[in-house]
């Protein structure tokens, strides 16, 4: 927003009550820093982990966590687990998985978001399911910290793409949380681990959770945690171990796994998980699947999960190649994620890296602890200044060019925040708009990569063909999310940028979900939305008024009149308590004042900033 850049809000971020949330595929945790050290918050029964499971019953009936899990595989309502696996994916992608699944994907909707069918005919997205989990953790934290949370750091797999990150942020918004930062899980773990063990050197973090796998290599040097490279698979984890075991026994009973009914699948998967967990200690476990008893030995399980485990190897080889080292040259390999409790995983890691992995900290908790530390760094009272995290972009970003070829603009493993600029020239007389398509991934052809979004530029001043030179700035923020802005170089006029994300929910839908009484009564929702917009409006009006007083000379008379009219129209909308209208008019005023903001910024900060824009970063 232009106005915010000219210094409207002196302190936009919070200072105070903050927490770190590990939003996991199977389990989630919340932690906070107390008396200088990170601590996981426990529930009434002293449990740290909270199953990422939601049960939906009739109407508003809903159960989250441990109690929801016990409802899996039968009875009324619908249980949704492992929603994280479907974040940022499209319906068609989820349905294409030919595997044993406890979900009923909605067949009615086809779109850029996955929908699950509930027993009573309603539909929910994984974003909403995650939001219910987040809301429960929020409640736990607020009860124990005795007051509302000012902000949270939420962890995501390092290999999450833009859409998956955005979906996580949307879930947080639905849960009423302010996100200070999305933090990569292996990085969070390294932070907690490094601070706890006071280690220095070069480390790999092997993070195998319920549904995602990450491998990162970092250097720890004098309080700076610098990620050098990251790789992984956001659909590879302990869930796949369970599935391999369940499919094996179902097949032995003559059931074709991909055709198993959802409730049969849910029960078989639950039995497989229990057996897998028992085999961490025992050599043999028994499990019952659809009325038949089976025995599973540890070596039999090792054999069943080996194909899944082997899928980690190419990612490990790739990150080692990135740093040009072999596994045994690293100073250590840290194990993170519940699935690293499986003895076969530890043996496998030891063999691949040629050294015994480190597991001094609880692999279930270490990510949440790191998130708490980062939350404290960003939003805590009197945060420490001896620690800094430098993370990287996991997947290259490129623009589609002629012939469906990707031209890379930002590269994988580039430290974020990162910016790149590229100039596009108009090709028609009087052309005022321009479209481009951003793709993520390492492949050369657009058709092999994954679409991120289509951007539509408008408001380019009409000029002769080839005369309009539009400088597009791509900026990936510290959350790993892309932002795009554009300016025509001859007239220095900013183009407006419309984004059409290829996956996920658009802003209006998220807002509607909040409206549709996500966790609030309808009246609360309206009130909350209105207050959100009113506060924003007041801030913008105050900033603009001050700016006009200070630098009125930069405005032509008609411009000043237009801005005043804009302010009056917002005030009228506030008076009328119309949240939607306030928002719309704030957006209009923001667009209207963008040029003024730029002029003012250039004047007040001197031409140095402009120099940075014009000079380019190539």
């Amino acid at each position: 927003m232009g106005l915010l850049q000219i210094g409207g809000a002196p302190k936009a971020k919070c200072a105070g009550r903050v927490a770190g949330i590990d939003l996991g595929t199977t389990y989630s945790l919340v932690a906070t820093v107390r008396d200088g050290s990170p601590t996981v918050l426990l529930d009434d029964e002293d449990r740290a982990t909270f199953p990422s499971v939601v049960w939906f019953g009739e109407g508003d009936a809903r159960v989250v966590g441990h109690d929801a899990r016990t409802k899996a595989g039968g009875g009324e309502g619908t249980v949704i687990a492992s929603a994280k696996r479907f974040m940022g994916r499209a319906q068609v992608e989820a349905q294409a998985d030919d595997e044993l699944t406890p979900y009923v994907f909605s067949s009615e909707v086809d779109g850029p978001v996955v929908y699950f069918d509930l027993a009573d005919g309603r539909r929910v997205t994984p974003i909403e399911v995650s939001a219910h989990v987040l809301a429960a953790l929020k409640a736990r934290a607020e009860e124990q910290l005795e007051g509302p949370l000012d902000g949270v750091v939420i962890t995501v797999p390092a290999y999450f793409d833009d859409a998956q990150r955005q979906a996580t942020k949307d879930a947080a918004r639905l849960a009423g949380l302010t996100v200070l930062r999305l933090l990569n899980e292996p990085t969070a773990a390294a932070l907690a681990y490094g601070l706890d063990q006071k280690k220095e050197g070069m480390f790999a973090v092997f993070d195998l959770g319920g549904g995602t796998f990450d491998i990162s290599i970092l250097t720890l040097d004098d309080g700076v945690f610098q990620v050098l490279t990251t790789g992984g698979d956001s659909r590879l984890g302990g869930d796949d171990f369970d599935r391999a075991i369940a499919e094996h026994f179902l097949a032995s009973q003559g059931v074709e796994p991909a055709k198993a009914a959802p409730d049969v699948a849910a029960r078989a998967l639950a039995a497989a998980r229990t057996a897998k967990e028992a085999l961490t200690e025992a050599d043999e476990a028994s499990l019952e699947i659809e009325g038949q008893s089976h025995t599973l030995t540890r070596s039999q399980m090792d054999e069943l999960i080996l194909p899944t485990l082997r899928r980690t190897e190419k990612h490990i080889q790739r990150v080692l190649a990135d740093v040009g080292l072999s596994g045994d040259e690293l100073d250590g390999v840290v194990l993170v994620g519940g699935s690293t409790r499986v003895p076969a995983v530890r043996t496998y890691v030891e063999k691949l890296f040629g050294q015994k992995p480190l597991a001094d900290l609880d692999p279930d908790r270490v990510v949440a602890l790191g998130a708490a530390v980062q939350a404290d760094l960003l939003g805590g009272e009197g945060p420490r200044d001896d620690v800094l995290l430098l993370d990287v972009l996991p997947l290259s970003l490129g623009v589609e060019t002629m012939g469906g070829v990707v031209e890379k603009i930002l590269h994988r493993n580039q430290t974020i925040p990162a910016t790149a600029q590229q100039e596009f020239t108009t090709y028609a007389d009087g052309q005022t708009g321009m479209d481009f398509h951003v793709v993520q991934g390492e492949r050369e052809l657009v058709s092999d990569g994954r679409s991120l979004a289509r951007f539509k530029l408008s408001g380019i001043p009409p000029m002769g063909a080839g005369m309009g030179r539009v400088l597009v700035t791509f900026e990936v923020d510290a959350d790993g999310i892309l932002h795009v802005s554009a300016e025509e170089q001859t007239t220095k006029k900013r183009a407006s940028v419309q984004v059409k994300p290829s996956y996920g929910l658009d802003d209006e839908t998220v807002e509607r979900m909040i409206m549709e009484s996500f966790q609030f009564a309808q009246a609360d929702v309206d009130e909350r939305l209105f207050v959100e917009h009113r506060v924003e409006a007041e801030r913008i009006i105050a900033a603009l008024t001050r700016a006009m007083e200070e630098d009125g000379a930069l405005l032509a008379d008609d411009e000043r009149e237009a801005l005043n009219a804009g302010i009056a129209s917002i005030e009228a909308a506030v008076e009328a308590k119309n949240a939607g209208l306030v928002r719309e008019r704030v957006d209009q005023l923001d667009a209207l004042s963008a040029d003024f903001a730029v002029r003012r910024m250039n004047q007040s900060i001197g031409d140095a900033l402009r120099g940075q824009q014009a000079e380019g970063l190539g």
């Binding site: 936009a12 190649a321 760094l377 200044d385 925040p417 510290a478 900060i605 140095a608 120099g611 000079e615």
Partner: protein
């Protein structure tokens, strides 16, 4: 230079000496200066990494999370520049291209692109050979060969910058060729991953 926030004279300092507020980056500063290392080809990469981290600690947006919007914006700009500078200077090929750029020669620009038929023919042959390598073993052998050629070209570049050996035009062509090899390696690596 005056401080954008309090108006006091601040010199070239990163933070205003009067009000201690973060200042805009200097546009005159090249990337060697931004990282505080000597401007030359052969540099101590460990010292470069250290300089990058020390400087990041001062200007990273995380340090300004609770500061004003302008300071947060400036922190992002400083950090993006540092990140770019470090990425460029820590890689010998990119570092050489940047040194050329400071001398006014843009590698990969239209006017620099070679049309020497002999060179283009050699590249095409190499490309064809690479396309022909289908098995993991063949791709590995090809990768090793291209790496060998790359090292040879980089040695020429080093000799030019460090000891003044060779003509600039030759080095510009070597750098141009290195771009081809780099793309070739990228492509081969991607195919190597698919093959395994």
């Amino acid at each position: 230079m005056d401080c954008w926030s309090c108006g006091a004279e601040r010199g070239d300092a990163l933070f205003c000496t009067t009000c201690k507020i973060l200042q805009p980056e200097s546009k005159k500063e090249d990337w060697f200066a931004a990282l505080g290392v000597e401007k030359k080809f052969s540099i101590d990469t460990k010292a470069l990494a250290k300089a990058f981290r020390t400087r990041s600690v001062k200007v990273h947006p995380d340090r300004f999370a609770q500061k004003s919007a302008v300071e947060r914006r400036l922190a992002v700009q400083h950090t993006a520049k540092l990140n770019d500078a470090y990425r460029t200077l820590s890689d010998p090929h990119k570092r050489a291209e940047y040194l050329m750029k400071l001398e006014g020669v843009e590698i990969g620009g239209e006017e620099q692109r070679t049309n020497d038929p002999e060179f283009l023919m050699a590249m095409m042959e190499l490309q064809e050979e690479a396309d022909g390598a289908k098995t993991a073993g063949a791709i590995d052998a090809m990768l090793e060969r291209v790496e060998g050629i790359r090292t040879g070209e980089l040695d020429k570049v080093r000799a030019y910058f460090d000891d003044g050996v060779g003509e600039r035009a030759q080095i510009v062509r070597a750098l141009d060729a290195l771009r081809y090899y780099m793309r070739l390696v990228e492509r081969l690596t991607a195919r190597r991953e698919e093959a395994s």
